[in-house]
């Protein structure tokens, strides 16, 4: 596809961005519990370009995951609409793969089968069996789990489980990747390694996936994202501020750590998140 707008050309060359892809349009969500209605999020609007990495950050209970689940199609918004590539989201699908904090691997399947079942289901009518097997192998190798392919989730560490889940998500060639606190349950060292594996997987595919990640780790958000969305505290949470992270890619942990721009952004995020300690729910 040829593009004539020079500023778009430039952004393609540097970041792989093209045009707005995910539209979260004035979305609110209310949950009904025991005849009481509580508003989780209200009036959230955000336009996300193709190939952009967005991090949602906020205190726990601020509805970050609620927004993500509505993009996933796990449940519909109470008001407003989510569009992906111009089409309203009506339910979950392989174009929007998910990675949960709880891994959600099937415990009775091996590491390999967990990835293969997804690849097999999504590509059944587009790819011969041999290619589906090869694709499974390729992605398991990319996250360094091929040697552990015959193990079951209970036999491997939390980091390895999450790598399996990430491999599964990437292997179905999604347009959008939804990560719900994917590294929340991991120790700092494992987390760091997984950040780089995630970025490597993303880069290996030309950064074509649009990634939405929920986190409460400032460091993580700044290292990974192109824009950080700061949520207000719930209930009835909404977007407080959107902070761009204009650091060049590929990023490298140590240089990002000492980059003055990154430091400024972290400072800003910290003050935004600490600005309302009294309202933070516990």
């Amino acid at each position: 596809m040829t593009r004539f707008a020079p500023e778009l050309e430039a952004s393609v060359a540097t970041n792989g961005w093209t045009e707005p892809y995910v539209h979260i349009d004035n979305v609110s969500k209310a949950f009904r519990m025991d005849q009481e209605t509580s508003i989780a999020v209200r009036d959230v609007s955000l336009s996300i370009r193709h190939g952009e990495f967005i991090a949602f950050i906020g205190h726990s209970g601020c509805g970050k995951s609620t927004v993500l689940n509505m993009v996933a199609g796990v449940y519909p918004p109470t008001a407003g609409i989510v569009r992906v590539d111009g089409m309203p989201v009506t339910g979950p699908g392989p174009d929007r793969a998910m990675v949960f904090q709880s891994y959600s691997l099937l415990p009775w399947l091996t590491v390999e089968e967990n990835v293969f079942q997804a690849v097999d289901a999504v590509f059944a009518d587009r790819m011969p069996l041999r290619d589906r097997r090869a694709r499974t192998e390729r992605f398991l190798r990319m996250v360094h789990l091929w040697d552990h392919r015959r193990k079951r989730p209970a036999e491997i560490s939390g980091g390895m489980r999450q790598r399996t889940a990430i491999a599964r998500a990437f292997a179905v060639q999604p347009e959008v990747l939804l990560l719900d606190e994917p590294f929340g349950a991991l120790d700092a060292l494992t987390k760091g390694a997984l950040h780089d594996e995630l970025l490597a997987l993303w880069r290996s595919d030309g950064r074509r996936q649009t990634i939405l990640m929920v986190t409460h780790d400032i460091e993580e958000a700044v290292y990974l994202a192109d824009r950080v969305v700061v949520m207000t505290d719930g209930p009835a949470a909404t977007i407080r501020e959107v902070i761009p992270v204009p650091l060049p890619r590929p990023r490298e942990k140590r240089s990002v750590m000492h980059d003055p721009r990154a430091l400024d952004i972290k400072e800003r995020l910290l003050s935004l998140l600490q600005g309302s300690p009294d309202q933070s729910p516990r």
Binding site: A72, G93, P94, M98, L106, P107, W108, A118, A121, V172
Partner: protein, 296 residues
């Protein structure tokens, strides 16, 4: 780079191997000792409980009832019965043959029941509509005694195999419920995450059933089958007493009518032993499934 990889193995394993062998030996010895101790201890408890049973039994013989066979007399009769367990004596089959007849009957009735209960349980667990429709039926039929099913079946199967069909039907009906209810509970307790995973990755209905729903429900199904098998074994004895068909229940009843109470005692021991073995078999199966998943 290559230097390192060449040098390392020649130095390290020499030390390692000796340590390794010694450690492994020690570990094995320790495991052996622990296992042996556990075996001795559990044998000790079994002996102690056997002693309690025997002394209560002897006490009953000495005080309440002089007609009741004593442990020693029963033991002697049991030995001769076991000696001819799998042959016919004067045309009557031995106690082993009787037990086998009961087991065969159970195998048929229980398999038929599982073949109905598992799919029915899945349907009830998956669909609220089906559950609402069938729940009252299950709740009413479940507590009905096998002693009522048997004569009802006699009427129903009068021209369709009569007594033997009725015994099978009684086993079939009474062992339906635990499997059905446990399967339904297992299916309906599927975590939402797994359902979302199946949706995100577009699992077909068959793949969802085969890779998500049934594996999740499997431990529940096994528990249900185990309970059903227990019920079936309880019921078969009662049903055979009513039907007069060959089998371990009939054997006990026949022994009572012939006044040979020692034989009845032997039948009780055989019934108890087989019941225990069946239960342990299912327990081992469940453990294997749980172990494979590492307790999740």
């Amino acid at each position: 780079m290559e230097d390192v990889s060449l040098r390392l193995p020649s130095v390290v394993p020499l030390v390692d191997r000796r340590e390794d062998v010694r450690d492994r030996l020690r570990a094995r010895l320790m495991r052996g000792t622990v296992a042996a101790r556990a075996a001795v201890r559990s044998a000790g408890w079994s002996l102690a409980s056997l002693a309690i049973v025997l002394s209560v039994w002897q006490l009953v013989c000495l005080t309440v009832s002089r007609d009741f066979p004593s442990p020693t007399a029963s033991f002697r009769v049991a030995l001769t019965l076991l000696g001819s367990a799998f042959v016919r004596v004067d045309g009557t089959p031995g106690i082993g043959l009787q037990a086998l007849a009961s087991l065969r009957r159970i195998a048929v009735g229980f398999s038929l029941s599982a073949a109905v209960a598992i799919p029915a349980g899945v349907l009830i667990g998956v669909s609220p509509t089906i559950r609402r429709l069938f729940d009252p039926i299950v709740q009413v039929l479940r507590p009905v005694s096998p002693l009522v099913w048997f004569p009802l079946a006699l009427v129903a199967f009068k021209n369709l195999g009569g007594v033997s069909s009725s015994t099978l039907f009684t086993i079939f009906v009474t062992s339906l419920w635990p499997t059905l209810i446990n399967t339904a509970v297992g299916v309906s307790s599927l975590p939402a995450d797994y359902r979302i995973v199946a949706k995100v990755f577009r699992f077909s209905r068959w793949r969802y059933l085969r890779r998500v729903l049934l594996p999740h429900a499997l431990p529940y199904v096994l528990t249900g089958l185990r309970l059903s098998m227990g019920t079936a074994w309880l019921v078969i004895v009662a049903a055979e007493m009513l039907s007069g068909d060959m089998g371990i229940g009939f054997f006990a009843w026949d022994a009572y009518n012939a006044g040979s109470y020692e034989k009845m005692i032997a039948a009780v021991v055989v019934i108890g032993g087989i019941g225990l073995a069946l239960d342990r078999g299912f327990d081992a199966l469940s453990r294997r499934v749980d172990h494979q998943r590492g307790g999740r």
